[in-house]
Symmetry: C2
Subunit: 725 residues, 2 copies
Amino acid sequence: MPYGVWMYSLLSRRRRPAWKWARTTPLWASLLVALMMGLDAVADEGMWLFSAPPVDRIEADHGIRLTPQWLEHVRLSSVRFSSGGSGSFVSADGLVLTNHHVGADAIQKLGDASRDLLKDGFLAATVADELRCHDLELNVLVSIEDVTDRVQAAVPEAMADDEAVIARRAAMADIEKASLAATGLRSDVVTLWQGGGYHLYRSKKYTDVRLVFAPEQQIAFFGGDADNFEFPRYNLDVCFFRAYEEGRPARVGHHLAWATQPVAAGDVVFVSGHPGHTDRGATVAELASLRDRRLPLDLRILNRLEATIGAYATRGPEERRQATQDLHGVENGRKARSGVLAGLLDPRIMAAKRKAEMLLRAELDGGTTGRSSPFLRIEEAQRAIDAVAERHRLLEGAAGFNSDFFRTARTILRAVEEGAKPNGLRLREYRDSNRESLLHQLFSKKPVYDGFETVKLADSLTFLATTLGGDDPLVVRVLDGLPPAERAAGLVAGTELGKRPDESGRRDVRRELYDGGQAAIEASTDPMLALARLVDGESRRLRTIVESADEVKKQAHAEIARARFSRDGLAVYPDATFTLRLSYGVVTGGTQAGVSYPAITTYRGLFARADEKRETPPFDLPARWRAARDRLASDAAFLDSPFNFACTADIIGGNSGSPVVNSDGELVGVIFDGNIDSLVLDVAYDDERARAVAVAASGIRAALDCVYAARSLVDKTVTRPATAR
Amino acid sequence: MPYGVWMYSLLSRRRRPAWKWARTTPLWASLLVALMMGLDAVADEGMWLFSAPPVDRIEADHGIRLTPQWLEHVRLSSVRFSSGGSGSFVSADGLVLTNHHVGADAIQKLGDASRDLLKDGFLAATVADELRCHDLELNVLVSIEDVTDRVQAAVPEAMADDEAVIARRAAMADIEKASLAATGLRSDVVTLWQGGGYHLYRSKKYTDVRLVFAPEQQIAFFGGDADNFEFPRYNLDVCFFRAYEEGRPARVGHHLAWATQPVAAGDVVFVSGHPGHTDRGATVAELASLRDRRLPLDLRILNRLEATIGAYATRGPEERRQATQDLHGVENGRKARSGVLAGLLDPRIMAAKRKAEMLLRAELDGGTTGRSSPFLRIEEAQRAIDAVAERHRLLEGAAGFNSDFFRTARTILRAVEEGAKPNGLRLREYRDSNRESLLHQLFSKKPVYDGFETVKLADSLTFLATTLGGDDPLVVRVLDGLPPAERAAGLVAGTELGKRPDESGRRDVRRELYDGGQAAIEASTDPMLALARLVDGESRRLRTIVESADEVKKQAHAEIARARFSRDGLAVYPDATFTLRLSYGVVTGGTQAGVSYPAITTYRGLFARADEKRETPPFDLPARWRAARDRLASDAAFLDSPFNFACTADIIGGNSGSPVVNSDGELVGVIFDGNIDSLVLDVAYDDERARAVAVAASGIRAALDCVYAARSLVDKTVTRPATAR
């Protein structure tokens, strides 16, 4: 798809000979320059498609020419976590390295009241001891095919918006179904450039995934929420899973070898991972809505959740075990969104966006007003979305029914209802090609805790009632004459959906209902299913409104993208979409609030940080690390081994767990975070202050070797198999 | 003021011979009965004025006749904390007993980076070691005078609303000023019955208050947010201050003697304190607004603050010390408001309120519609308030400028501006009779932390911008071209208002500006003062709108109250207004979620609770208590001494620290909380499930004696002075 997102800088190929941190230009100035004049202030920008990597540009800027073999090896060694995150194969027998925080959800679900794997960590003594995860799915990208023409052909220009939604959905579902039938691979048509292009991504899927090693969360997330999105950092934010096939460790054709040399300041590095979502191609109207509506609503929901879950976690050690992972997720989301919001609330950034759009509009549509301008159509569609956004989030987004039980009930309800329709007419997540993944989630045997579910549901019912008003007819029907807490307790106590079927011989009611179809649904007296049915009509109605407006936006964005491409002829990457992308940058420190920081931290720095904070949580060390500290007090090789490092690669949430490789395609680190200034990357790239943050591969090996006596794991993974490169 | 709040039950004098906990009637049923039929299901209801105590009713129900001497003794032993809370004199030389959480704000301000008095506790070895608080003010109620006729006479019926606001305010200010001049006592005209009555309260004021003893916060608030508003409880939530006059311990005429017998289940007890606010007399329209608007907005603000302050506190031990008390306050506010909201979201409670109002309206105004119905006038006024409520809260409520520096700037700005006007025309808080208290706060030398202020200000500026929209003209002017965090940092770094004058010889710019008047204000370049000036016009405009609507409500409520009184002729207490009230009830346990709990807990129970929770915070014991536990392991007298107890007295926030006395006027405990079901007391009384929660006097003595070796304090306070009773 060789055309670009129109809003950010045009990327020049002029070589930047040196990394200049002496520059004192502030963020806004560099952004302004980038946005207004198309200079190369943003040198290492880009989350590039593997089907269109900027090999010339990288060679021009960094003197490294990536080969097709290099790209294929890195791509086929990269792994997508369905739970949201990235990883890589690091052994021929399916060992997968990712972040602890990417694996944490799966790890949490493997624990119980007697075993807190998040807190205490885990190391499988033998392959037989590896723990099978409840609902994790891994994907490896096998091929990319441009299907833009086929998708667009299904939607003639004159078609009404609501018909267009269905026609486009049907075209995508058909392509996917045919691909799945032909190849047996997971097949997803991905919307790129906000609707400017459509690619078919085929992936090999692994659903039997087992936990091999996890450190204590306290070292994986040392510094907690306080240090999250900061640098310098000292986090062993890694864990190892293994992909299985037919009950045996998977034999994988590609995996990354561990680099023999540790990472060093000035190194050029590459990141292969799955950035989740960016808004760089959004129009000013969309950004204003993001700033004034969506992000504030997100934060309102997250702040509530943080208070509610935080309070639940203080009830006792078992409640804390149940809630910790959710709490970290919420804190992380709050901090991430606050960072994006801070960028959008920077009047200089918005002014630059506005000016750039004005110039572009003058060029593209001669400043046309009315229906003919795609910008105005987007603005209008955004208003239509905004008008129902809160209600849509409460119902269709289930922010008013925050319970696994509710989500299960609705999935069953809809799976049955949608299953009766032709593939192309269904809501997208119920398409045939997605069925296996959907059922893997739906029938998960993960533990669900009634007490915790009740608290979350009561809180979200309260949010529903206060947002819509206590006298709103839907609220009245939902609460059914009870206050939210009582209603929630009744629903959770009464439902049988998602209760673990393996407990005391309980039937799996989920499967019975799914298999029993419409008749079984209608015969059911499950209160949560009844609630899902009660709100489903209104919920679908709101979804249709939003999807129709989104269709308008897609068509308008496609128009803008086409016009832009015919003008510039540049290959520019699309906004992030949780598909595999290649980023690159230089390992380097920087300055924050006038204080400079180094590119790389060490274990010596970890211990100094713990001392500085008097080991007050979240800066306390796990017992094993206190012992290691004493034992290794004079082991300079350990103490000085690189632990975490910063680089300028262009990443965003979803890149967590991404392998960082050198020009030889060897593993030098694992991305786990960005600094606080990187959060603005959602809307515009910056290399002055924004940094991607990674765990150094050498630091991981030192920890496995010296602290966890897990040398076998290291040895296994350092052997470079014959198949690589 | 012998008429009643019309919305809750009529109080019968029929004797309830026994305390019947065997009853299984749920809360809603008892409320319904109370609201609909006027039966005595709510036996010990009432936050009674000391000028109109229900002595006959108490005698009829409990066989105890309170004498005027008893009432005077208890009243003059009672103390109001200006920071919001209650207490009592417990020695002739001015020792004041209150809750730790009432004193915590003052205690926090006495600490610094090298001394954490909240965490570690404090005991003055001698009187000379007592620590003077920065800005605490104590008040003792000396007299009550009904001035309703004088206030109402100032507002003729035909007067326009905005003129009426000014006329009423002027009448009140004049009465207060004359009273202060005549008596030298703090004089406040208090609005009762939502405008149905006006009383002049005269108080003796103490502004030199010193800290004598505080336990570790971890035992004062054992169980933290998790156990807050719960029972059974195990909290030593007490601390001791001393009132001073002319640099010496105050000689007070009345103080409470410690009861010689510990409290026991079935005891009738009395609570003398300052309940802050209830909404029992609110109309359905007002309650719906509270439910759908005010409380959700409160919670949105509190949830944000909890996340922001919580995140700041995790940065390190010093940040935690600075923020802990604010964080507890926010958590407490969140849980309290959630409880009230839960009551209002109970469709049964609202239905009962609605039906009761309908009946009353039919009786009072024959169901009149239009301007002539006070109910409709209240509804209309409420709508006017709702229309500006968010903006009002952001500006006039300063929710958009959450910083001590901003509040100081605005106070100076307005004090000068208002000071130039006649007393009666000023905004109420700047009236002459309040000047001394205002300046005591304004010139406080309490520490203010730049880092913490910056974080809070940045967060609230973000809240302002997202609530009004990033392109709102006022937002644009407030942010002055910068993103919120940068703007906040600049304001905090740039202001000199409220920085401690005693640091490195810094001038006290606050006093210079205040003394310098308008000219000094205009010459100032302080950026925070400039911000306060920038928003003050709009802020005042919004305040005027709200106050005019409030005036309409006051007149309408007065009409309802008059009509009701002429019908019922009952003496009923007004809603809580942070003035001294008398409540009473029975020491008793109860049941929650089907589980029964005892009336009284012990130290043995404390240790069992800590064990049950494996001492996971917030259930950990301070080191001193771990040692005491070992030392006193076989001391049954200590282990079994009553620690906390529950009773049915009608209390609400502001009652914290209230003395609980027996029929002899002796101290048997100190109120520190209500259980979770007590939160609904904001809108309706309940004695089935709601409980007030107190620290037992005997438990306090046991702790001082056995754990803190502070027997001298106990001995001193147990001596009963000749002046009492």
